[in-house]
């Protein structure tokens, strides 16, 4: 199973918070150019899985591999150094700052000596280029992010992760609370990134139909375990729903 293109793999992750077991031996893998969708109810453990991959949580046991090498993701910074970037729903941007300042937040380009000034001009130009590269359209890069729609903001957050050399992109509910047109914006963006072939994408989602449309492969996480895994082509929203229903009935019977 160890393909040359494999970007990230996690094996038998276990994570307990006090007496609560959030993850109970979950495994996953995703290759470059591939998009993996992680589905599951609230509290099923998918966020914990994502947060282990970002270095935010450390697993009690289990192992993460990046490019086939075992790694210890002790912090968000360490994960980032390995090219792992996570885009959180509506957390990533500063509404009062312009699009280009957001794209370069804490990676600002500077000029001058001994005092270093912001190189507004170069940052603007590079921001326009970076957005064009992933096909994001905004009225202007000078506009405050707060004036943009939710979909545009999410797109800019993704563009920032990509322009910071992310090779493993984690998306936390990228389509949540978004209208159909807005969602289409993000879906097209993900498709373009997929077409580049050098980025592995893992996304957490709720909507089965949308997830199957975007992702190459889906995983169902329930009570801390991966209960179902399939290529998107080989399954359907109805099948996923049936699995979840069966689980729910079993839970009520037990």
């Amino acid at each position: 199973m160890s393909e040359a293109k494999e970007a990230i793999r996690a094996e038998n992750l276990v994570k307990n918070f006090g007496r609560i077991t959030a993850l109970n031996g979950a495994s996953m893998h995703v290759a470059r150019g591939e998009t993996l969708g992680i589905l599951g109810d609230n509290g099923a453990g998918k966020s914990t899985l994502l947060k282990i991959l970002t270095g935010f949580h450390q697993p009690d046991s289990g192992q993460v591999f990046v490019d086939g090498r075992p790694v210890r993701l002790a912090s968000v910074d360490e994960a980032r150094a390995l090219g792992i970037e996570c885009v959180y729903q509506d957390l990533a941007l500063v509404n009062g700052l312009s699009v280009y300042h957001n794209l370069f937040l804490n990676r600002e380009l500077l000029w001058g000596w001994p005092v270093r000034f912001l190189d507004h001009r170069t940052m603007r130009r590079r921001a326009i280029e970076a957005l064009a590269e992933v096909g994001i359209v905004v009225p202007s890069v000078d506009i405050e992010v707060g004036a943009l729609s939710g979909g545009q903001r999410q797109a800019i957050a993704v563009a920032r992760a990509v322009s910071s050399q992310a090779r493993i992109l984690l998306l936390d509910e990228p389509l949540a609370a978004m209208g159909a047109r807005e969602a289409q914006l993000i879906i097209r963006l993900i498709e373009r990134l997929k077409a580049r072939g050098d980025i592995a994408i893992v996304m957490i989602a709720h909507n089965y139909a949308q997830t199957l449309e975007i992702c190459d492969r889906v995983m169902l996480v329930q009570h801390g375990e991966v209960t179902f895994e399939s290529t998107a082509a080989a399954t359907s929203p109805a099948e996923l729903l049936e699995i979840v229903r069966r689980e729910y009935r079993a839970l009520r019977a037990g």
Binding site: V76, L91, L93, L97, H101, L105, N106
Partner: protein, 327 residues
């Protein structure tokens, strides 16, 4: 066609500029100048402009620090007390034989240390800065009264030094404008300023991006206290005597009011130094104009209160018109 498009951009740009909070304050200020000049021909005279510049300078310098703190969602209530303490520090250091210029530097260093202490307590011990600086307000008042034994003192130093430090009629406004220029560049054209805005705008995003939040907040406390101390020194040299009850909460609120009238958001994430300058000038024009008209200080407080309220209401709704800003 192209001409028409350029015309539209220009109009929309001009419109955008007019919607900026600073712009409305400038418009109001010009209207006030015209009104006061009409009411009293003495208003635009050398002597009165001098008086006005002296009244405006101190709140504007204080505002520069408070604006940085307000933008990153902090406040310093004790800056007016540092204002009163600084000249006594200078005098006491001078009295033990340290030359006056060095005594000034040393006094400012102590003010910076006070700012550092405020920052460390606020950040390190997680006390809201409102509370930290409320405590410091009383603490420093007591310290100043103890050091001075409650008596005023005279400033020392040669004519050149005292001239530069505030005794020359226009030195204080020159200081204020120079500080405004430096602070404007700091806020708009350096990482420090950008990160200050980012912290106030979205703390989580700033942390996510790896911005050194604590360092920037503490730095802004140090900056504010130091500017407060400098303002106190300038005022002491201008008046020629040191008053243990100078400055105080009054100068602090004037500074905060200047910033807020000029568009600084109390909720953080937005504000400009130029706004603080025009806000301070507007308050100065109001007080000076009403003084010339013989309206007393009690009425002035009513006017300043109303001005703050109107400015805040206007700013909130202008922000919505611009379609951006904190929601």
């Amino acid at each position: 066609m192209a001409e028409g498009a350029a015309g539209t951009t220009l109009t929309s740009r001009a419109f955008g500029l007019l919607l900026r909070p600073e712009a409305s304050v400038v418009v109001v200020s010009v209207a006030l100048v015209l009104y006061f000049q009409f009411a009293n021909a003495y208003f635009v005279s050398t002597a009165n402009v001098q008086t006005l510049s002296q009244f405006v300078a101190a709140p504007v310098i204080i505002a520069c620090g408070e604006i940085m703190l307000l933008i990153c969602r902090e406040i310093d209530l004790s800056v007016g007390q540092v204002f009163a303490l600084a000249p006594f520090l200078m005098e006491n250091i001078n009295d033990v034989g340290v030359p006056e210029p060095l005594a000034i530097v040393a006094a400012l260093a102590v003010c910076a240390l006070i700012g550092l202490m405020i920052g460390l307590i606020t950040i390190g011990l997680r006390v809201p800065s409102f509370i930290t600086t409320l405590g410091m307000l009383f603490l420093i008042t007591g310290l100043t009264l103890t050091i001075s034994r409650g008596y005023p003192a005279n400033t020392a130093g040669g004519p050149v030094l005292t001239g530069i430090m505030g005794a020359w009629a226009y030195s204080e406004i020159v200081w204020a404008l120079a500080i405004v220029a430096v602070m404007h560049v700091l806020l708009r054209h350096t990482r420090w300023g950008l990160h200050t805005v980012a912290i106030g705008g979205n703390l989580l995003a700033a942390a996510e991006a790896g911005i050194a939040i604590n360092r920037i907040k503490i730095g802004n406390f140090v900056l504010t206290s130091t500017l407060g101390g400098l303002t106190g020194l300038l005022e002491a040299f201008r008046v020629g005597s040191i008053d243990p009850l100078a400055g105080g909460s009054n100068i602090m609120f004037l500074g905060v009011a200047s910033g807020v009238i000029g568009g600084t958001a109390i909720a953080g994430g937005a504000g400009t130094i130029i706004g603080g300058l025009v806000g301070g000038i507007m308050l100065g024009i109001l007080q000076d104009g009403f003084t010339l008209q013989g309206i007393n200080a009690f009425t002035f407080d009513i006017v300043i209160g109303a001005a703050i309220l109107i400015a805040m209401i206007a700013n909130i709704h202008l922000a919505r018109l611009r379609g951006g800003g904190p929601q």
